[in-house]
């Protein structure tokens, strides 16, 4: 028991240190295998946007806040793209139960995002997502520079401020 306790104290300390370094440790999008909506195999490390920012959002058809977030962005996505060239990549973590409903939902809502299926959570795990919605911001060099868990109406405004900063070449 004692040893376990020490293990955990040590780990908590390490986590604390890691948080301290969090913003400095620039990480690229990890490699994981997902599927396109026509079920082709796709490697996530190849996600790119010609040196412009990328938003990666994890969602599911059964997750209300996730759909609210992506629908809210959809309303302004054209403006965002015109002004900053940002690309939104939506990763559905729906499993076999709902996976076949993802494409009809995406089309039904008229989303213009790049949508991928992650039915066994391989990419979700690689990105250390605990629960959805979870949104990441990737800079022009492919580094993950920001993330946000959960969604409240209005969060997309903060996200867009950060996207604009990135597209102007500023650090966030």
């Amino acid at each position: 028991m004692k040893k376990n306790l020490f293990t955990f104290i040590g780990l908590f300390a390490m986590v604390a240190i890691l948080f301290g370094f969090d913003s400095d440790s620039k990480r690229k999008i990890p490699a994981a295998t997902v599927k396109t909506l026509d079920l082709k195999t796709f490697d996530t490390s190849t996600i790119s946007n010609d040196g412009k920012p990328i938003v990666i959002s994890f969602w599911a058809t059964w997750c209300s806040p996730c759909k609210k977030e992506l629908n809210a962005i959809a309303e302004v996505y054209e403006d965002w793209q015109d002004e900053t060239g940002v690309k939104v990549v939506a990763i559905s973590i729906d499993d076999a139960r709902n996976m076949n409903k993802v494409r009809p939902y995406v089309d039904g809502q008229g989303w213009e995002y790049d949508v991928y299926l992650d039915p066994n959570a391989d990419f979700k795990r690689a990105m250390n997502v605990n629960n959805v919605p979870h949104t990441f911001l990737v800079d022009g060099n492919g580094h993950i520079v920001w993330q946000h868990n959960s969604y409240s109406p209005g969060d997309e405004e903060e996200l867009y401020e950060l996207v604009k900063k990135l597209s102007e070449g500023k650090d966030i």
């Binding site: 293990t7 955990f8 969090d22 008229g110 066994n120 605990n130």
Partner: protein, 590 residues
């Protein structure tokens, strides 16, 4: 040995971490060698329990329960390694009971180069839609059937994806992960026709075909029956998309596999899943059907609930999100046999039209039904042919049985009324055969109507108020039971009819939620069982919670009563007992 094993895991994890800390330390120094990167996530849920005899929450002498997880993944070039520390000191009430203590719950090393991908240790894998193999983690439910062994993925040729694996499955946790008894071996091949044949690369028609084989081994220690020690299964799948259409079909077969799930019959199993969809901008239609016959597949034939499952058979029904619809009567697949079908439509009525309104209106309609499989029992007293008796039943595989297990019709309309106000109105109708699903101790088939209204009002930028009102009405039909053992009888059999019980009666629920983007969410939920048959149980289940979010970190504090019920994530559910107390939860990704 056990201790040694544990220490190795521990040392591996720590040394990985140290390597990484070294890397951070080098940050401002002159160009240093790439020491890789460490990242991960953390989660803790802790609850302080009050005794609440009214709702059936027992006295919990330890007062506090907590589940915690720390995942660390280290990546350097082609090499990756991961470890997960878990802690259940003690495990939360209602979580599966086979979790105790603290230690390493998962560890693996992975090497990827060009077309090769090798994993040693724990891994999660899915063949096709999972009809014969899916290992996955659903932490909120305590489901984790990771395979501990070796997995090799290889792409010998463009468009050809091969996977082979072997190992034992994660079963329980007692200061370290412990594997189940049986061995799992599997192989999967997937061909992408368009990648394979270059002239089809740009074709409008995209096709993949796949095939898999999975077998399990478990020694036969049964004193009476001669059980198959090796149980093999295989499956094939096909997908096609062309423009707005897509089609998916999958078939699986399993040889006889007597188990606790199927009452030790020696019958083989089969499953078919087909799904088609049509979608264009503003419209999506999905049709799907599924048949399952004796397809429960575990690496230990004596296990039940969510333990040691090899395959994944989610319900072909809508996954509801609103509280009363999602948690009171959720349907779970009957792996011994069922036939299900579902139709789903989403349509966006264009904005600035008569029906669409100024901002457009989204309408979703969904219908699903699950029936029994049409089977004929083989009489048990068939002494002349005991082998036949052990088959249990015969069936016409694709034919719908007469018994309704579940039906769900639901419609949801979402409309933005003004710049500030958005509403969602929803109606849900269930037919829930509790004699089959056995969710509640009451007998009969329940008929429920649920109405939901969800209004979101933007007070000012970043400040939003959301109010939800829900109501559930319930009725049930009488059931005929055998008066001696109270087993439910089917039509035509003689027995005693017991009066209809309306299960727990009607419910009303309300949620008020105030969000202040991007950091704060404050909410209160009240579920009121105002019409329970037992007047003493007409109580309010009120919970208040405050959530603070900062980037990848989320902290939630909540206090109140939680009713006993079914808690589902994804397609899997577990029962949670009633509880009363204070809950703290923290999740963080880094």
């Amino acid at each position: 040995m056990v201790l040694k094993h544990h220490i190795y895991n521990y040392i591996a994890g720590i040394s990985l971490s140290l390597v990484c800390l070294g890397a951070f330390g080098q940050e401002n120094a002159p160009p240093a060698p790439d020491l890789g990167q460490l990242h991960g996530n953390f989660e803790i849920t802790a609850q302080y329990y009050n005794e609440d005899s009214l709702i059936g929450a027992p006295d919990f002498p330890e007062r506090v329960g907590a589940n915690a997880f720390l995942n660390l993944i280290y990546v350097k070039g082609n090499f990756e390694s991961g470890v997960r520390f878990e802690s259940y000191e003690p495990v939360l009430q209602g979580y599966p009971t086979n979790f105790e203590g603290s230690g390493v719950g998962l560890r693996y090393a992975r090497y990827r180069k060009d077309e090769l991908d090798i994993t040693a240790g724990h891994f999660y894998e899915q063949f096709g839609s999972g009809l014969i193999l899916r290992t996955y983690e659903e932490r909120a439910l305590g489901v984790d059937n990771a395979i501990d062994g070796i997995r090799v993925k290889y792409k010998p040729f463009r468009g050809v994806y091969l996977t082979g694996l072997m190992g034992k499955q994660r079963f329980r946790f007692e200061n370290r992960v412990q594997n189940g008894d049986g061995r799992v071996r599997g192989f999967d091949a997937e061909l992408n026709i368009n990648e394979l044949i270059p002239s089809l690369a740009e074709s409008r028609t995209q096709m993949t075909v796949g095939g898999s084989f999975v077998s399990k081994f478990q020694a036969d220690r049964d004193p009476l029956l001669v059980l198959p020690e090796n149980v093999s299964s295989y499956g094939g799948r096909f997908s096609l998309t062309r423009g707005k259409f897509s089609f998916l079909g999958e078939y699986a077969y399993k040889i006889n596999d007597p188990s606790a799930d199927n009452n030790f019959i020696f019958k083989d199993g089969q499953a078919v899943f087909v799904s088609g969809s049509y979608s264009k901008k503003g419209l999506g239609i999905t049709l799907a059907a599924k048949t399952i016959d004796n397809m429960s597949f575990r690496s230990d034939r004596s296990e039940t609930v969510n333990n040691l499952t090899i395959n994944y058979l989610p319900a072909l029904t809508r996954q509801h999100t609103y509280n009363l619809a999602a948690t009171l009567y959720p349907y779970a697949t009957q792996p011994t046999g069922e036939v299900g079908y579902q139709a789903d439509l989403i349509y966006k009525i264009p904005k600035k039209t008569y029906f669409g309104g100024r901002y457009g209106t989204t309408v979703s309609i969904n219908y699903s039904g699950v029936n029994s499989l049409d089977t004929t029992q083989i009489p048990e007293n068939n002494v002349s042919d005991s082998l036949k008796t052990l088959q249990g039943y015969t069936t016409n595989f694709f034919s719908l049985g007469s018994q309704t297990f579940f039906k769900d019709f639901n419609i949801e309309v979402t409309r933005k009324l003004s710049k500030k106000t958005k509403i969602t109105a929803s109606y849900v109708n269930f037919v829930f055969n509790n004699d089959v699903v056995k969710l509640s101790p009451n007998k009969g088939t329940f008929f429920t109507d649920i109405a939901i209204l969800d209004v979101t009002y933007k007070i000012r930028p970043k400040h939003t108020l959301r109010v939800e009102a829900q109501h559930l009405w319930i009725n049930s039909v009488p059931t005929k039971v055998d008066s001696t053992n109270l087993n439910v009888l089917s039509e035509g059999e003689l027995g005693e009819t017991i009066s209809a019980e309306r299960d727990n009666g009607d419910w009303a629920a309300a949620i008020v939620e105030y969000t202040f983007s991007p950091h704060w969410i404050v909410s209160v939920i009240d579920q009121y069982n105002y019409n329970n048959n037992n007047k003493d149980l007409r109580i309010h289940y009120v919970t208040g919670s405050v959530v603070y979010v900062n980037k990848g970190t989320r902290i939630m504090l909540s206090y109140g009563r939680q009713r006993a019920g079914v808690f589902c994530v994804g397609g899997v559910c577990r029962n949670v007992p009633a509880s009363n107390g204070l809950t703290l939860s923290l999740t963080s990704s880094f």
